[in-house]
Symmetry: C2
């Protein structure tokens, strides 16, 4: 039986402010919770229904696991249709991003992306294509937002997501900075070399004016039809796919 | 001033049943409404605030246009943040799909896609890459759903979206049927020839067991990392992009 203060604490994690205060975020659903249990993330507590318990892997003894009923789950879930299990997971603290980490490979850099579904989908896609990190500007949507976690379909458990001053990052970059723009060179002919940052802009405004001057390679997904732009998660996927097609992503390196 | 029955009729269009009954759907926002005004769709009525009126193009005399205030707009809008203008647009009635229409080109076929955001994004992406039609199974989400219309970012105004028995369609197909599966040939090496249907499956279950036997070319987006699958709108985009890269989409034909 959950107390009112417990319910209040858990539901407060639907807001970024309280996620940062408690250092915790929510993961829901058997598949996602299982992936976080098998990851480097620190799962702190699991709330599950009797029915869902059978579908979960063995929960390590150091993780407190609480059986609750459907009504209680509904009260703490951020999903319209709760999925039997909800975990509280620690927000990780990564070592600072240094040039060493970025060299000899490719990283997706997101410039103030706002839609949590887009961010989650980019993480899922980057994971499919073998990347290990996504770098977000400070002003980007919080990846620990329930919708972003959900859209990542468990891939967040395998990815490192950094928040950093990306203007500084691209200004100081010793490696090429590729930027997705509407008037650059065709992506299919682009020589990506062996390392680089791939910058994708905000949903409405594209790459910010502070970041744009530091883009060393302006790259475009050629348009045949009439849409004004592509969704940012779609653009990110097309860049990841081009890197993969050209043999630039080595699963051994990442 | 909108009457209660008027408000009821408009908000009823948020449900598929009433959209079909009235043959109408809702388009919101200056950009989208402008694109529908410039399209072959029949815009029947426009509700706009005084502020939004200045941003709209000249509205033809045969379209009834009604000025309303912010509060009234909020009552009829399906958006959390209404965008100044809401149009009622007629659901088009296309001639039946025949082999002639499908030959000498490529069409995306969606097998019971459920998420309206995914459908809208696929329409936007197909429009970017110069396709003119998207074909949905009867069980797919309704494209005139507000979220699908919104996610298409105006591209729906330029696209024909068919709902048909796709099992019959692929069974009778005289042209190749490419299917997005997890264990097919790599997409980058696939010879798409000059025409075909590109089938993408449901978000959870992939291509249905009724459709799968009619897939003549099983195609896979090669995975390097660990995600279990890709989002269906991402997969659709990667197929469209491959067709574009290989010069299979001729803007003159579509």
């Amino acid at each position: 039986m959950l107390s009112k203060p417990q319910i209040r604490t858990i539901t407060s994690l639907q807001q970024k402010k309280f996620r940062r205060e408690h250092g915790l975020f929510i993961v829901e659903g058997v598949k996602s919770v299982t992936e976080f249990l098998h990851s480097d993330y620190s799962v702190q507590r699991i709330y599950h229904t009797a029915q869902a318990a059978a579908k979960l892997p063995k929960i390590p003894q150091n993780i407190k696991s609480v059986e609750i009923d459907d009504l209680e789950l509904k009260r703490i879930s951020s999903l319209r249709t709760p999925q039997g299990v909800l975990a509280l997971v620690g927000i990780p603290d990564y070592p600072p991003l240094t040039g060493d980490v970025l060299q000899n490979g490719f990283h997706v850099v997101l410039d103030d992306i706002q839609d949590p579904g887009n961010l989650g989908t980019i993480i899922r896609t980057a994971d499919w294509f073998g990347l290990k990190r996504v770098i977000c500007s400070i002003g980007s949507v919080d990846v620990y937002n329930a919708k972003a976690v959900q859209a990542s379909m468990g891939s967040l458990a395998r990815m490192q997501v950094y928040y950093t001053d990306i203007t500084q990052l691209v200004a100081d970059s010793a490696i090429p900075v590729f930027g997705a723009v509407l008037d650059g060179s065709p992506i299919y002919d682009t020589d990506f070399g062996q390392e680089g940052l791939v910058v994708l802009g905000n949903e409405g405004n594209g790459i910010s004016t502070a970041v744009l001057p530091h883009v060393t390679h302006r790259v475009t997904i050629p348009r045949i039809g009439n849409a004004e732009s592509l969704n940012v998660a779609i653009s990110a996927a097309l860049f990841c796919s081009e890197l993969a097609r050209k043999g630039k992503i080595d699963p051994g390196v990442y």
